[in-house]
């Protein structure tokens, strides 16, 4: 039961261009969403989040868009930089049975080409 899906295992983007990573979810109980970035041999690092009551949140080069009716969110990175090359995980959070729980997608490996 894959409640959070990232359908693109990998994405390659030219440096300076926009990177768009996508994520779909199925459970309407999720009420906040996060993006984490992961380098090899390191744990996931929090990047940006959005509450279900919003449709956009921006932080510097990173913007997350949420379309609740489509149960879809996306992460835009502009301009893309070589240091952005990493695996990106989408996660959905909610309050389930007395605990906050995160459900992760499978990840998208982003490669920024110089």
């Amino acid at each position: 039961d894959q409640q959070v899906k990232q359908n693109s295992p990998s994405l390659s983007v030219q440096e300076g261009r926009i990177s768009i990573l996508n994520c779909d979810y199925t459970n309407s109980m999720f009420d906040y969403f996060l993006w984490y970035k992961k380098y090899p041999a390191e744990g996931p690092t929090f990047l940006i989040s959005i509450s279900s009551i919003k449709d956009k949140n921006e932080d510097g080069r990173f913007t997350v868009f949420l379309n609740k009716s489509a149960k879809h969110l996306s992460l835009h990175i502009v301009p893309s930089q070589p240091g952005d090359s990493a695996v990106y995980f989408c996660a959905a959070g909610g309050w389930f049975l007395g605990a906050q729980k995160l459900v992760f997608g499978q990840g998208t490996r982003l490669t920024i080409n110089p």
Binding site: A41, G43, P44, F89, W95, G98, K101, L102
Partner: protein, 114 residues
């Protein structure tokens, strides 16, 4: 400001053995969640500890158990190890009552079962 620390970094065990992984949460955090990340997959929620009690559990067998100490540090124990338990085990911490705040992850323990 100490982040989430996990030990050991790597561990090799054989089938049938038992293992204990350790986690110290980020300073100021009181809630610890454990995740299993198999190769090529996103982290999967194992369970969460708060006030020294297991608050919620993911779809993992009873061979997986945990503990939280009064100083908020936590252990993950896995009994009767199977080859399929080979994975990266991630610990994440958060502060109870701060809903929608991101969980902070450690760098994980890489467990290999021979």
């Amino acid at each position: 400001d100490a982040g989430v620390t996990q030990s050991p970094t790597h561990l090799i065990k054989t089938r049938g053995q038992q293992v204990t992984l350790r986690c110290s949460p980020k300073s100021g955090h009181d809630t610890v969640s454990w995740y299993q990340q198999a190769l090529g997959q996103g982290p999967q929620f194992i369970f969460q500890y708060y006030e020294e009690e297991e608050r919620q559990r993911g779809n993992f067998p009873d061979r997986f158990s945990g503990h939280q100490y009064p100083n908020y540090s936590s252990e993950l124990n896995v009994n009767a190890l199977l080859l399929g338990d080979s994975a990266l085990y991630l610990c994440a911490s958060s502060l109870a009552g701060t809903y929608n705040q991101p969980q902070h992850f450690g760098d994980g323990t890489r467990l290999s079962i021979l």
